[in-house]
């Protein structure tokens, strides 16, 4: 009897210990947070990004979580911080995130926030004289070119607009050799729109033999575009390129339609290849051609898009990056063998930074994303155009 009781007690103790260990593994968690504008007039970017991150982390957690250095698994916890597309708030948010146990941040959404925000990070790792914040940031949305060069703690998974528009204008040149002139329209007070017209679209168009016959400027909150459209009508351009966000893109397209301006090709800003443009001006946007790094063209991207919609967001080129970032970070965390303990937070952050820096390519929804030494990415993309109530793939440059 005594032996039986002893064995019973032993078995009970062993099973209790095993259960406790399992429970402890289940309780393990690492925090990856997001930041960006989830309120305000450009809040849709953050809302979609947040939904994409949450959907991706749910998928990872459902598949068992992320493997730590000791072989145990940890769940990923996440939270989204709102910076309202305001630089001061963005900086304050990142400082707050860095003071928690978060290992890495995905964000921000606005280029005008990203630029000063990256400036508070340590410019070069191991520079003892630089007291900047040592915290890895993996950007999904803020798309203005070249920003990762500001700090070695910054990595971006945003598409290369320079490459996209270069290919787009090369393709337009090949498809329409008779077209000669282009007219640009730019939302002058938004960092991304401005940069993309003057530094990307205009240069790419000129490189491929288009003559810029005029430029129209307007501001983000403008409601009257008649002057700008009149000048455009007079120039009779073959191609019109609009570098603006959906509200003013729609305002300008409506004014163009009213003034009977019918360019043979209409090019739009990457950020406008979204549901917003099609909900704002479905008729006028028809035919608008945009390069984008996301389109639901394969099983992976379709499944991801459905998961994001289930989380209340929409999948577009920006939120697709948030999804990809989550998946890339899982791989990096596992490869870097982080410990995921309160004592190892700083060391883990450094391991993640180094892991991201060491990447030369990463899986994306449309194919392989090439990681550049400066922290930027070159992502696969397609050209889409507005057709009916959706965006349809017009051309795949890889084909």
């Amino acid at each position: 009897m005594k032996l039986k009781a002893f064995i019973k007690a032993g078995l009970l103790s062993a099973s209790t210990l095993a259960m406790a260990t399992a429970a402890a593994a289940q309780d393990k968690a690492v925090r990856i947070v997001g930041s960006g504008a989830s309120s305000g007039v450009v809040g849709i970017f953050g809302q979609n990004s947040s939904a994409a991150m949450a959907a991706a982390f749910d998928k990872i957690n459902e598949e068992g979580g992320v493997k730590l250095a000791d072989g145990s698994k940890a769940m990923i916890e996440t939270e989204y911080y709102d910076d309202r597309c305001n630089a001061e708030e963005g900086i304050s948010v990142l400082r707050r995130i860095a003071s928690t146990d978060a290992l890495v941040a995905i964000g921000p959404t606005c280029s005008n926030v990203a630029e000063p925000l990256f400036g508070i990070l340590q410019a070069q790792v191991d520079d003892a004289g630089d007291t900047g914040l040592q915290f890895p940031v993996f950007t999904d949305v803020a798309i203005k070119g070249g920003l990762a060069g500001i700090s070695e703690w910054v990595f971006r998974n945003t598409p290369s607009e320079a490459k996209m528009y270069d290919d787009l204008f090369a393709w337009i040149r090949a498809e329409h050799p008779d077209l000669k002139t282009i007219y640009g329209g730019v939302e002058e007070d938004f960092a991304h729109s401005r940069f993309t017209w003057y530094e990307v679209m205009k240069k790419a168009a000129e490189k491929h033999g288009f003559e810029v016959v005029g430029e129209a400027q307007w501001l983000l909150s403008d409601t009257n575009f008649s002057n700008q459209a009149r000048a455009m009508r007079r120039a009779e351009p073959d191609v019109v390129a609009i570098s603006a966000h959906p509200f003013t893109t729609c305002g300008m397209l409506r004014e163009m339609s009213r003034q009977k301006i019918k360019p043979k090709v209409l090019v739009g800003l990457t950020s406008s290849s979204s549901l917003e443009t099609l909900s704002g001006c479905p008729d006028e946007a028809q035919g608008l051609t945009i390069p984008t790094s996301f389109a639901p063209v394969n099983d992976n991207s379709k499944a991801a898009a459905e998961a994001v919609v289930a989380k209340g967001g929409q999948m577009d080129l920006h939120s697709a990056s948030a999804w990809e970032n989550a998946m890339i970070l899982k791989e990096v965390i596992e490869a870097a063998e982080i410990e995921g303990t309160p004592a190892s937070v700083e060391e883990d952050r450094r391991k993640i930074r180094d892991g991201l820096a060491a990447l030369t390519e990463a899986d994306g929804l449309l194919g392989v994303n090439v990681r550049q030494p400066d922290g930027e990415a070159v992502k696969p993309f397609v050209f889409v155009h507005a057709q009916g109530k959706g965006w349809e793939v017009l051309h795949d440059p890889k084909s």
């Binding site: 309120s39 809040g43 409601t223 509200f247 729609c250 409506r254 704002g280």
Partner: protein, 296 residues
């Protein structure tokens, strides 16, 4: 001066004056509330926007015709105007004008954020009438939809004038505006007059919001701040408290905005509009038609 410049100038002036009527309506709203209560309602533009979204909801939900959409926008804005009165003005101490002013700033931010959350900040198509109609006078094109906006705004102003100068309600409103204490002694209930003023100005704001959205063809929360700022500039130029001043101020702001856009480009346009505001504040603080008479 070449021919094209002359045409562009005339065209800009025409478009600006037509569009300026929406600023005039917003200006009238500010000035009417100020005239009656001697207080500024900074939530006015945001309330106008929120009302416009009520009309939009009808359009998106059951494809309501433009007339009904405009009507619902105006009425919705009127109801929100009354709510703003109760939240920010009715119970705030009369001796502390800053209390209601700051309450209205809070309300502006609150309404704006509610609209953004409800719409996810996305632009939505807003119905317009005569969108493709254009009257061509030589090289000058007059937009049918802007002419409609102009017409509706003029009718709204005419109805307002009738209300103010031909009805007992208008008499009471003017009495409270001029001598609130004496008006109260005569049996006029200032609270009721204030409430009705917020309702009426709300309707005017809703018309302005609807007409702005109809002119652009798209509605977005972005337009709230523009309506507020342009409306305030219009009343400062026209003279705070003067309805004809708000009308002239609104037209002037609309025209100046377009002319400066033509002459100096979009990046400098607002500098000159603000300079105009500054000049009026310094050289003629009472505006063009501002009354210098006080009240009890």
């Amino acid at each position: 001066m070449d021919y094209f410049f002359f045409i562009d100038f005339l065209q800009s002036l025409t478009d600006g004056l037509l569009f300026g009527t929406t600023y005039a309506l917003i200006g009238i709203g500010f000035t009417l509330i100020f005239g009656v209560m001697r207080k500024l309602n900074l939530a006015y533009g945001a309330a106008a926007l929120a009302g416009t979204y009520i009309g939009l909801a009808a359009f998106l939900s059951f494809d309501a015709p433009p007339t009904l959409v405009f009507l619902l926008s105006a009425l919705g804005s009127g109801v929100i105007g009354i709510l703003v009165y109760y939240c920010c003005f009715r119970f705030t101490p009369a001796d502390y004008p800053m209390a209601s002013l700051l309450a209205s700033v809070g309300m502006l931010l609150f309404i704006e954020e509610v609209v953004i959350h409800a719409s996810h900040g996305m632009p939505f198509p807003y119905p317009s009438v005569f969108r493709d109609a254009t009257i061509e006078l030589g090289d000058i094109w007059i937009r049918g939809d802007l002419l409609f906006v102009f017409g509706i705004c003029v009718v709204a102003m005419a109805v307002l004038f009738w209300l103010l100068y031909r009805t007992p309600l208008g008499l009471a409103t003017r009495a409270v505006s001029q001598q609130p204490r004496a008006a109260a002694l005569c049996g006029i209930d200032p609270t009721r007059v204030n409430l009705l003023t917020f309702g009426i100005t709300g309707i005017l704001g809703g018309i302005a919001g609807a007409m702005t959205a109809a002119a652009v063809g798209v509605l977005s929360p972005i337009i709230a701040m523009g309506l507020t700022v342009k409306g305030l500039i219009a009343v400062v130029i026209g003279g705070l408290g003067s309805i004809p001043g708000a009308i002239i101020g609104g037209l002037l702001v609309g025209a100046a905005e377009n002319i400066f856009l033509l002459l100096r480009g979009v990046t400098e346009r607002d500098i000159y509009v603000m300079l105009l505001l500054f000049l009026f504040l310094v050289l003629r603080p009472g505006g063009l038609f501002g009354s210098t008479a006080g009240r009890d």
